[in-house]
């Protein structure tokens, strides 16, 4: 009889372990898939920012800004980070008027770059944390997913949100005191 208990115990343990493995594999898969999606989203927003910057540069007839925007758009992957940093630096000196649609597009996309980068960094960190676990390394759970990379750029300053329509607060305010 004792042997049967032994066998039963092993079977139960094996079942628990395989359930845990399945759960872990699913988690690892998910964080890697998210890190990839976040990278694509960040890439799109960087392209939008550069395109919007090029339009604004044409309006302002700013050669330097235009060059920085073009370089960011055309950069090879290994030059991308420094090209984006150059564009960020150029943009810092530009005064944007939210009434102008081109400037507005640039403000909106610049804000989204900051947010997308933040989320991308967090998701990459989650994926890298998952990869560090011994179980994940030994069993090579990330499988087909490449090691995610941080996108290492200087954090751009987030321009204030352009208000859709200036709130007529000043006229609503002087409420008559009783």
């Amino acid at each position: 009889m004792p042997r049967m208990w032994w066998v039963l115990g092993v079977v139960v343990l094996a079942a628990i372990f395989s359930a845990y493995l399945g759960w872990t594999a699913q988690r690892v898969e998910r964080v890697h898939a998210r890190a990839q999606s976040a990278e694509r989203a960040l890439d799109s927003h960087l392209l939008r920012r550069a395109a919007a910057a090029a339009v604004v540069a044409e309006h302002l007839e700013s050669v330097e800004l235009y060059a920085a925007a073009r370089l960011a758009l055309d950069a090879e992957p290994d030059e991308r980070e420094s090209a984006e940093n150059d564009l960020t630096r150029q943009l810092q000196g530009v005064e944007l008027d939210p009434v102008d649609p081109a400037a507005r597009a640039l403000i909106v996309s610049s804000r989204r770059v900051v947010l997308a980068r933040q989320v991308h960094t967090d998701l990459v960190r989650d994926a890298l944390t998952a990869r560090q676990r011994k179980l994940v390394r030994v069993l090579r759970l990330p499988g087909r997913y490449p090691r995610p990379r941080y996108f290492d750029i200087v954090e751009p300053v987030m321009p204030p949100l352009p208000s859709p329509a200036p709130a007529p607060a000043s006229e609503a305010m002087p409420v008559q005191a009783v």
């Binding site: 989204r112 947010l115 967090d122």
Partner: protein, 378 residues
């Protein structure tokens, strides 16, 4: 956008997080989005249309106070049903690290999750220990929002992740239209203070000193104080002949707080530190009060470097006295400050705060999906 919001705390009891969620939900609905809020509440309680009750909350001691929360298998089933029926584009949970509906919702969520952190949890060591245990929850959260600089710091330092700082909004319309308390502000000038006057960091003694000095020279000057605390303790520090010129309201309800802020000529925030975000200042600004505040970093930022309210050196009672005297004598300057404050407070108004939250929603959805929306939707 279809948005599901989860509140950890019951709406039966008022609280900062609950107010935040209600104001946010209403602002989002006004912007044309579909919003459903899941919160612990009695089914037969009177609730707003967008609120889905998740059953009665159990009182549970947490973090030094009693939180009313819902947790357990029944709650889990309700959370799952709500998620399945809602078909949300994004799930927004508040305080997901408390044992609550928020926590359960994150565990059951499949799509993009946005989490807002309200409190700055100071028990960092406990948090560090719990980090491994919490990782499965944290990694399901796509984007994080912190309501204050301090809450953001805790995120960055102890939970190893960034967070977007989006301050609490203020319902400007509500504040701007309230009526002052009967008989206030009156002719002789009125100063106001709101907060726990016994707490040294709130700096009430500075205002008391300034008031006593000014009141001797100005026979009509009055002081209006609201906040928790003992009446006798407040009057102990004030000379008896001035007692009838101080009015103490005690702990006030939300509507009375609004009226109180509209009842004074100058609202004074003499805090000496520890204020992570000047929520009360944004409320005073919305109420159209002229503000005199300590030159703390947080206050200076909210007051746009001193344009939307006068600043005095932190902890300097003499400077405060001079400043208040000047402000009381100069109605034009008061009006200038107040009108600038009304303009500046627009950035803290709920509709514009909701726009910023929507940006984070969109970012979270895009980061899950990999596709980016059109510009118009941003």
């Amino acid at each position: 956008m279809r948005i599901g919001i989860v509140s950890p705390y019951s709406f039966d009891v008022p609280g900062g997080v609950q107010n935040h969620i209600m104001d946010l939900a209403e602002a989002l609905i006004e912007l044309g989005h579909h919003v459903s809020v899941l919160a612990p509440a009695d089914e037969d309680a009177e609730l707003p249309a967008y609120l889905v009750p998740a059953g009665r909350a159990m009182p549970l001691p947490y973090n030094g106070s009693v939180a009313r929360i819902a947790f357990g298998p029944v709650s889990t089933a309700r959370v799952r049903r709500w998620l399945a029926r809602g078909e949300f584009d994004v799930l927004h949970v508040h305080e997901p690290l408390t044992p609550s509906l928020s926590f359960l919702a994150v565990l059951s969520a499949r799509g993009p999750v946005v989490a807002t952190f309200h409190t700055a949890m100071t028990r960092s060591r406990a948090l560090a220990v719990a980090q491994n245990f919490l990782q499965p929850v944290m990694e399901k959260i796509t984007a994080r929002i912190a309501v204050s600089e301090l809450a953001r710091k805790v995120q960055v330092e102890h939970l190893g992740g960034g967070a977007v700082e989006i301050p609490n909004g203020v319902a400007v319309r509500k504040f701007a239209s309230a009526a002052p308390l009967p008989g206030w502000p009156g002719q002789g000038g009125a100063l106001g203070f709101l907060g726990r006057f016994t707490e040294p960091r709130k700096g009430f003694p500075l205002l008391r000193t300034a008031f006593v000095t000014l009141a001797r020279a100005r026979p009509g000057l009055r002081l209006l104080v609201a906040g928790p605390g003992d009446r006798d303790e407040l009057f102990d520090g004030i000379p008896p002949e001035l007692h009838d010129r101080v009015e103490f309201l005690g702990l006030v309800s939300e509507p009375d707080k609004v009226r109180m802020l509209r009842s004074v000529d100058v609202y004074v925030a003499p805090n000496t530190g520890g204020e992570s975000f000047g929520m009360i200042l944004t409320e005073a600004m919305a109420a159209g009060a002229t503000i005199a505040a300590s030159d703390l970093d947080a206050f200076r930022r909210v007051l746009d470097g001193g344009r939307a309210g006068a600043l005095f050196p932190t902890g300097d009672a003499a400077a405060l006295t001079t400043l208040l005297g000047d402000l009381l004598d100069d109605p034009a300057r008061r009006a200038d400050l107040a009108s600038c404050a009304r303009h500046v407070v627009g950035t803290f108004d709920w509709p514009s705060v909701a726009e910023r939250v929507l940006e984070v929603y969109t970012t979270a959805i895009e980061a899950t999906d990999g596709r980016v929306f059109d510009d118009d939707e941003a």
